[in-house]
């Protein structure tokens, strides 16, 4: 597939259809693929890579890229297209300046899980069927079942279907019936308030406020985030108290509610492995339950459950009381 992608990208560059190509670049380790912008054929040939290690969702880069001169080509995995579509719904990307090639995806490997499994000496990862083989700097060759080293978002993959594209490479899939996506949220919901508070205190106490979750999030596309804006009164790159960090995550979760496609990038990049996607999923579970199932970015959407009012909607007080009953 990679060969086909490079071939098509080179054609489109050569005939002038596009000026730049957004894709994944080989890194210093075999398992490190960086999101990158390519401008020439030789570079593509040498450094462009697509594999189960191409985890980066590049949709958000298109906000800037689509405003540069000439068209840009972007390769999107199925779940990436949800983020792209959501950004279109929010009028953040100039669609006419982007050409999309949807590429099939069989799940991304979780480098963090792989390092835990195979150790810090990890040199390379390779899948063959259901087995992953790893090599390390200590000369080991180790194996593990592939399913155990997939990113959480891939274990609970919601769709193998591209919602927006101009061309496709690889076999197109369908939406996936996820059965375990809300398991952890259910588990948290079933806890007592104190237990749940304890869970999040423990997780969020590790936050180093690097903002990686926000900066990678395709739903976080504000020109100037309130947490970076000294005029806001609560810009706080350094937390004066732990509460500042807690509020950062809670406010962010509220702000992306209804717009978060559950792409899982926040949890993937967190250096402290805080399961941030669970905050977003709690919102998704709640509005799915209260207003009917809704998937952000699954198509052209003018509104979402939290910005739309129907006469038959639950009265907010009723919704609140329902929470008490649980």
């Amino acid at each position: 597939m990679q060969t086909e992608m490079i071939k098509r990208a080179k054609e489109l560059l050569a005939d002038g259809t596009v000026k730049r190509v957004a894709g994944w670049r080989s890194g210093d380790f075999q398992y490190e693929l960086s999101p990158s912008i390519f401008t020439d054929a030789e570079d593509l040939e040498k450094n462009f890579q697509y594999s189960e290690l191409a985890a980066s969702n590049m949709s958000k880069y298109m906000i800037k890229e689509s405003r540069k001169e000439g068209k840009v080509l972007i390769f999107l995995k199925p779940c990436d297209t949800y983020s792209f579509q959501q950004l279109l719904n929010e009028h953040r990307i100039l669609r006419e300046n982007v050409m999309i090639i949807g590429v099939a995806c069989d799940g991304n490997l979780d480098i963090v899980a792989a390092k835990k499994r195979f150790g810090e000496g990890l040199l390379s990862l390779k899948s063959e069927g259901d087995t992953i083989t790893a090599t390390t700097i200590y000369g080991e060759e180790l194996t593990a079942p592939r399913q155990e080293l997939l990113l959480e978002r891939c274990v609970n993959c919601k769709s193998k279907k591209h919602v927006v594209f101009d061309e496709l490479i690889g076999e197109e899939g369908v939406e996936v019936e996820t059965t375990h996506r809300f398991d952890k949220v259910d588990e948290l919901d079933a806890m007592s308030e104190d237990q749940r508070f304890g869970f999040w205190q423990n997780e969020l106490s590790r936050c180093i406020r690097c903002n990686a979750c926000r900066d990678i999030c395709p739903a976080c596309s504000c020109e100037n985030c309130v947490f970076d804006n000294p005029e806001s009164g609560f810009s706080n790159k350094g937390a004066a108290v732990q509460m500042d960090n807690d509020m950062f995550h809670i406010i962010r979760a509220f702000h992306v509610a209804g717009r978060c496609t559950d792409c899982g990038e926040c949890s993937r990049v967190c250096p402290e492995h805080i399961p941030l996607h669970l905050l977003n999923r709690k919102f998704i579970k709640d509005y799915d339950g209260l207003y009917g199932e809704f998937q952000a970015g699954s198509g052209e959407q003018e509104t979402h459950p939290l910005t739309k009012f129907n006469m038959e909607d639950l009265n907010p007080t009723e919704a609140l009381n329902r929470g008490d009953e649980e």
Binding site: S34, D215, N236
Partner: protein, 342 residues
């Protein structure tokens, strides 16, 4: 060499705690990684090579209160919020972290005026370093002539299975070991020598062991500054602060004020050159785009430091290599600008 078993080690920590000296050590957290935490009854030392956050936090914490102000009519009271510190022990820092303290000392102590907040902590901190026995793929401290088998802290230690071999390197270290003498015994250290020999072999074969640093010689500052490669390498940098906040040598900070309702607390917190309001001034920002901010981080560590102080501002701990969400870390920069950029 003096040795102490893991079980006895915790007895020693309890003794130190009784003597008023808190002990901090790498502890596994619920996410499966290690971070420094204070020892209390039942805390076990992590077997992992690295902590997510570096040991610099003990001397230069992410946030710290500097002073308080209280207003009474037309008078303002300035209150010094510093507390009297007791000695404390950092047990299990690695050689890279130990090397980073020297770089921090340069900025906070050797350059005048002395940062008394930092100096106070440094004076009270006793560092016990445990030599690395199984370096990770992302490690490259040897590029900077750091020897992870000889950390050179107040006490140098070696862990072989469940026994720790300790050797004092400074007066502070001797004083510390004196306190826990009854728990230790003199023992043969052939196993330590064997471990060092094995580690040295691994070090030679690390993927980044032979990074070419020749272009970063402190001489061609403007040449590197103006290299067009900064454009492409910084293009997809997210502008997050993961690299700077796990870095043991990053030392930039911001000073902010918090209105507590009945006064003002002035505190400082880490800043990151990756953030867009870094060095923001009333008129403008000298680093308007991510390219300039990205370049600043690496020029600082790889060019300005060798030019001004004849030493690199990086210790090769590899934390940014492990944590950068887009893998645009310092090794990537060294290779792109240093090797290919010639």
């Amino acid at each position: 060499m003096l040795s102490i078993t893991e079980a006895k080690l915790y007895e020693a920590f309890a003794q130190l705690k009784k003597n008023g000296e808190a002990v901090y050590l790498p502890v596994d957290n619920t996410s499966g990684e290690a971070d420094f935490a204070e020892w209390k009854e039942g805390t076990a030392i992590s077997k992992q090579l690295k902590t997510v956050r570096s040991a610099k936090d003990f001397f230069f914490p992410q946030t710290e209160n500097l002073m308080k102000f209280k207003v009474h009519g037309k008078k303002i009271n300035v209150i010094d919020t510093r507390e009297e510190l007791s000695d404390f022990v950092i047990f299990g820092a690695r050689a890279c972290d130990v090397a980073s303290f020297k770089l921090l000392d340069r900025a906070f102590i050797e350059e005048k005026p002395v940062d008394t907040y930092y100096e106070n902590r440094r004076e009270h901190g006793i560092v016990v370093s445990i030599a690395c026995s199984k370096p990770a793929a992302s490690c490259f401290c040897t590029v900077y002539d750091i020897d992870p088998t000889h950390p050179n802290a107040d006490v140098d230690g070696y862990r072989v299975d469940d026994t720790f071999y300790l050797e004092a390197k400074t007066a502070k270290g001797e004083k510390l070991l004196k306190q826990i003498e009854p728990m230790m015994s003199e023992s043969d250290d052939q196993c330590v020598k064997d471990q060092i020999a094995t580690t040295e072999k691994i070090l030679k074969n690390l993927p980044f062991a032979n990074l070419d640093m020749s272009r970063f010689n402190g001489d061609n500052m403007m040449d590197i500054f103006n290299d067009p490669k900064w454009n492409s390498i910084s293009e997809t940098c997210l502008g997050c602060g993961a690299c700077t906040f796990v870095c043991p040598t990053c030392q930039c900070y911001d000073i902010k004020e918090l209105d507590t309702g009945d006064g003002i607390e002035r505190f400082r917190c880490w800043d990151s050159c990756m953030y867009k309001d870094f060095t923001q001034m009333a008129a403008a920002n000298p680093r308007p785009s991510q390219k300039e901010r990205f370049r600043q981080r690496f020029m600082h560590k790889l060019v300005y430091y060798p030019k001004n102080y004849n030493v690199y501002g990086c210790v090769g701990c590899g934390r940014c290599v492990d944590k950068c969400p887009t893998h645009l870390h310092i090794v990537n920069v060294i290779k792109t600008l240093g090797e290919e950029g010639k």
